[in-house]
C-alpha cells in the first residue's frame, strides 16, 4: 500500500503574528491537505490563516549541517523567485517546529538561505519554502473554518474545573 505524501502545516494565530510550523498531514493533494490540516490541527485553537506545503518542496537545514552544506553557485540564467524563510531558536515552545522570519528573493533555495544568513545566522534550524509551493486558506474561509471554534467555550482550558489531590490524613 502506498502512503499519501506528507505536507507541513503552517498556522497563523492572528493577522499580526507570523506563520508557524505546527505539524504535518498526509493527503493525496494540496487542497485535501488544507482540509485535513484544518481538521487535525485547528478544530479548536485560534487560527487566522493556514498554509500547507509538500514536505519534499522544503529545504530544511540545521545549524550543524550549515557548516558542511554545499552552497549553490549563482546561476546567471535562472530567474529569481520568492522564498519564505522559517527558523527555530532554542528548545522553547517545543510544539512549534519553525517560525516565519522573512521573505527572500533568490534563484534557488540554497541561495535564498545564504542571503538570509548574511543578516542573521543565530538560529538552530532553517526552513526555506518556495512561495509557489504554498497552498493557502483564502480569507473567505476564515468565517467557516476558524470562527465557529471561538464560540465553543469547551475548547478553553479555563472552562474545566481543576482536579485537586486531597492530602491523606
Amino acid at each position: 500500500l502506498t502512503q499519501w505524501p506528507r505536507y507541513e502545516v503552517f498556522k497563523q494565530d492572528k493577522s499580526n503574528k507570523p506563520h508557524e510550523a505546527i505539524g504535518t498531514v498526509h493527503a493525496p493533494d494540496a487542497e485535501m491537505a488544507l482540509l485535513n490540516a484544518r481538521n487535525v490541527h485547528v478544530r479548536r485553537p485560534a487560527c487566522h490563516s493556514l498554509w500547507v506545503v509538500p514536505e519534499s518542496a522544503i529545504l530544511k537545514v540545521t545549524a550543524q549541517q550549515l557548516a558542511s552544506h554545499p552552497q549553490d553557485q549563482a546561476d546567471e540564467n535562472s530567474t529569481d523567485q520568492h522564498y519564505e524563510i522559517f527558523c527555530k531558536r532554542g528548545k522553547r515552545r517545543s510544539m512549534i517546529a519553525a517560525t516565519h522570519v522573512g521573505t527572500v528573493e533568490a534563484s534557488t533555495a540554497n541561495m535564498a538561505l545564504s542571503k538570509m544568513l548574511e543578516h542573521d545566522d543565530s538560529a538552530d534550524v532553517w526552513w526555506v519554502v518556495p512561495q509557489q509551493a504554498i497552498t493557502r486558506s483564502d480569507d473567505e474561509l476564515i468565517e467557516s473554518w476558524f470562527e465557529p471554534a471561538q464560540h465553543k467555550t469547551y475548547r478553553h482550558q479555563s472552562g474545566y474545573g481543576k482536579v485537586q489531590v486531597r492530602e491523606a490524613n
Binding site: 499519501w4 493525496p28 487542497e31 482540509l35 485535513n36 484544518r38 481538521n39 487535525v40 465557529p148
Partner: protein, 252 residues
C-alpha cells in the same frame, strides 16, 4: 404564534434534528475504521458538528412545545416517532456512499439554512446563520471527495456512480413537504420545500456533472413522508438507545 403553526414548526425542527442525529451516528461508525488517520479525524469532527446542530434544533423544539428534553427525544422515542429521512438511516456503506450522502445533505443544508437565517421565528435566525458557516466547511470537504472519486480511478468512479444510483431517489425525500408546509411558508417560518428543491438541484447537478456522474430518471423518487422508516433505523436505535434504556432513571 397560532397553536397550529407552532405544532407544524416544531415538527419541522424535529425533522431537522433527527436528520442531523441519525447522520452523525452513521458517520461516527467510521471512527477507527476510516482509510487514513486524517480522514478518520475529519469524519469524527463532522459527526460531532452534526450532533451539536441536532442539539440546537432539539432544544428549540423543546422550547416551542414545552415538551421533551433532547435526551428524552433521542433515547426514548421508538423508530416510528423519528422524523429523519430514510437516506440518513441507511448503513454507512463504503467511502463513496458515505461522502456522497454527506455531500447531498450538506448542499441541502446550505439551501435550507439560507432560508432559515431569515426566518420570522427569531430564535431560529442566529443558530441558522452560525450553523450555515460551519456547514460550508463540511460542504467543501464532501464536495471534494465526490469530485476526486468521480474523476479518480475506474473503481472509484464505479463506486461513486453506484452510490449515486442508491442515494439519488432517497435524497428526494428531503423535499417532501412537511406538515402544513404552505402555512409555514406563507408566514415565513419554514421554506416551501418543493421550491427549495430547484435551488438544490441546480447546485448539486452542476457538481455531479463536473465529477462525471449521472443521475437516474425521476420516476424512482421517494415521496413517502418522514414518518416512514426502514428496519435500518430500528437497528440503529437499538445501538444508540441501548445503554440509556438499561436504566432510564440514571443521571449522567
Amino acid at each position: 404564534m397560532k397553536i397550529s403553526t407552532k405544532v407544524a414548526l416544531a415538527n419541522a425542527l424535529l425533522g431537522m434534528a433527527d436528520d442531523e442525529l441519525v447522520l452523525a451516528h452513521r458517520n461516527s461508525e467510521w471512527i477507527g475504521h476510516a482509510p487514513i488517520l486524517e480522514e478518520d479525524i475529519a469524519l469524527a469532527n463532522i459527526a460531532q458538528d452534526e450532533l451539536g446542530h441536532a442539539m440546537v434544533w432539539y432544544t428549540l423544539h423543546q422550547q416551542l412545545t414545552d415538551g421533551d428534553t433532547p435526551d428524552q427525544l433521542v433515547y426514548f422515542r421508538e423508530a416510528d416517532q423519528y422524523r429523519n429521512v430514510q437516506m440518513m438511516e441507511q448503513p454507512r456503506g463504503d467511502w463513496a456512499f458515505t461522502f456522497l450522502r454527506q455531500y447531498l445533505f450538506d448542499a441541502y443544508e446550505q439551501v435550507l439554512l439560507s432560508h432559515l437565517s431569515q426566518c420570522s421565528y427569531q430564535p431560529i435566525v442566529d443558530p441558522a446563520a452560525k450553523i450555515k458557516q460551519e456547514e460550508l466547511y463540511h460542504y467543501r470537504h464532501s464536495a471534494l471527495w465526490v469530485q476526486r472519486l468521480g474523476l479518480g480511478t475506474e473503481e472509484s468512479h464505479f463506486r461513486m456512480q453506484r452510490a449515486l444510483e442508491q442515494l439519488w431517489p432517497l435524497a428526494m425525500q428531503l423535499f417532501v413537504p412537511v406538515e402544513q408546509n404552505q402555512l409555514l411558508a406563507d408566514e415565513g417560518f419554514f421554506p416551501e420545500l418543493l421550491e427549495m428543491e430547484r435551488a438544490w438541484q441546480a447546485m448539486v447537478m452542476a457538481h455531479l456533472t463536473s465529477a462525471n456522474l449521472q443521475t437516474t430518471a425521476n420516476s424512482d423518487f421517494i415521496t413517502m413522508p418522514r414518518t416512514a422508516h426502514s428496519h435500518h433505523l430500528t437497528e440503529l436505535l437499538g445501538d444508540l438507545q441501548q445503554v440509556a434504556r438499561v436504566d432510564p432513571e440514571a443521571e449522567w
